[in-house]
Amino acid sequence: MSDQTHMHVEHDIAPGDEEQHSVGERIVGYVVGLVLALLLTATSFFIAGTDLVWQPSIPVALIVLAIAQMGVHLVFFLHITTGPDNTNNVLALAFGLLVVFLVVGGTVWIMGHLNQNMPPMDQIMQMRR
């Protein structure tokens, strides 16, 4: 325990900053991120326009691919990782994601029910006939 008292990393790392790496390693990191992002993008565009896969699975696949690509961007471009010096950045990200999930999920949920319970006037007229 006592030999861990003074570690060489004394502070949290800034978002966007990496731990100490040589220039070559940093460039390789960006290249890997770019290749992964291009692959995921190409897959998204391919899946959206193809008849080869079961059609109802396409929206789910697109959303999964989008989330995966956002993760690739976060790790390889913004350098938000799970290291102990990155805790604050990840916590802020987690809170942001919570709010995003509440806003988008809550809106879609509530407005979907509103449309069901209070259909527009022309639909009500059709129901009465």
């Binding site: 949290d12 993008t41 565009f45």
Partner: protein
């Protein structure tokens, strides 16, 4: 004395992860600045999530106007996406060059980033102008209002990013790689990468999901 040492120890390692810093003091300014900007970016993403939510609610309210599948052109969106992805990469190269204080690669990376950003903006502007010319402007239907506000808001961010990019090149030209200029460069790189993340959501949700509807 022993008492204060214990208290200090508990305070330095509140979660007992064996990572103890006795007197850390204030973090370096680079960390503080970038963290504050990171919090701003997250709030910006929350704002975009409201536009996404509005779009998801209004996407079927076309008021007998065009549906998404009738006005979206996949080829243009693919070109825009590749432009933004490559510009994120060159922006990363420019920030590495700034960290090692290499002017040539910094200017080159930033210039390529700027050109790719401008290509993206030109394609998007042409798409908007075409839609308005065909009578499908933002006032045509609730769907088009939501579409123009979501995609246009991202486009405004990219425009602001291009202006910021040119400012950073001018500042490096005039002031060199000073600590404060490097901090601004770091914030700019975060901003540009975050815009790319939002564009991933835009092309997936608006263009690809919308073309199937």
């Amino acid at each position: 004395m022993a008492m204060t040492a214990t208290v200090g120890h508990a305070h330095a390692d509140p979660h007992h992860i064996g990572f103890v810093v006795e007197h850390p003091g204030p973090a370096p300014k680079r960390t503080v600045t970038a963290y504050g900007f990171w919090v701003f970016l997250l709030s910006d993403i929350v704002m975009f999530s409201c536009f996404f939510a509005a779009y998801a609610v209004l996407v079927s309210q076309t008021a007998d106007g065009p549906k998404g599948s009738e006005i979206f052109e996949q080829r243009n969106v693919a070109i825009e996406t590749v432009c933004l992805l490559l510009s994120s990469f060159t922006c990363g190269m420019a920030s590495i060059a700034a960290d090692v204080r290499n002017r040539f690669w910094f200017y080159l990376g930033m210039a390529v980033t700027c050109v790719l950003g401008l290509i993206f903006l030109a394609i998007e502007f042409k798409e908007f102008a075409d839609l308005v010319a065909r009578g499908y402007g933002p006032s045509r239907s609730a769907f088009l209002t939501a579409f123009f506000s979501l995609v246009g808001c991202h486009g405004l961010h990219v425009s602001a990013g291009v202006l910021w990019l040119l400012t950073m090149m001018a500042q490096v030209f005039a002031k060199g790689f000073r600590a404060d200029v490097l901090r601004r460069m770091m914030c700019f790189a975060l901003f540009w990468h975050a815009l790319d993340i939002i564009w991933v959501g835009v092309f997936s949700v608006v263009y690809l999901l919308g073309s199937g509807v």
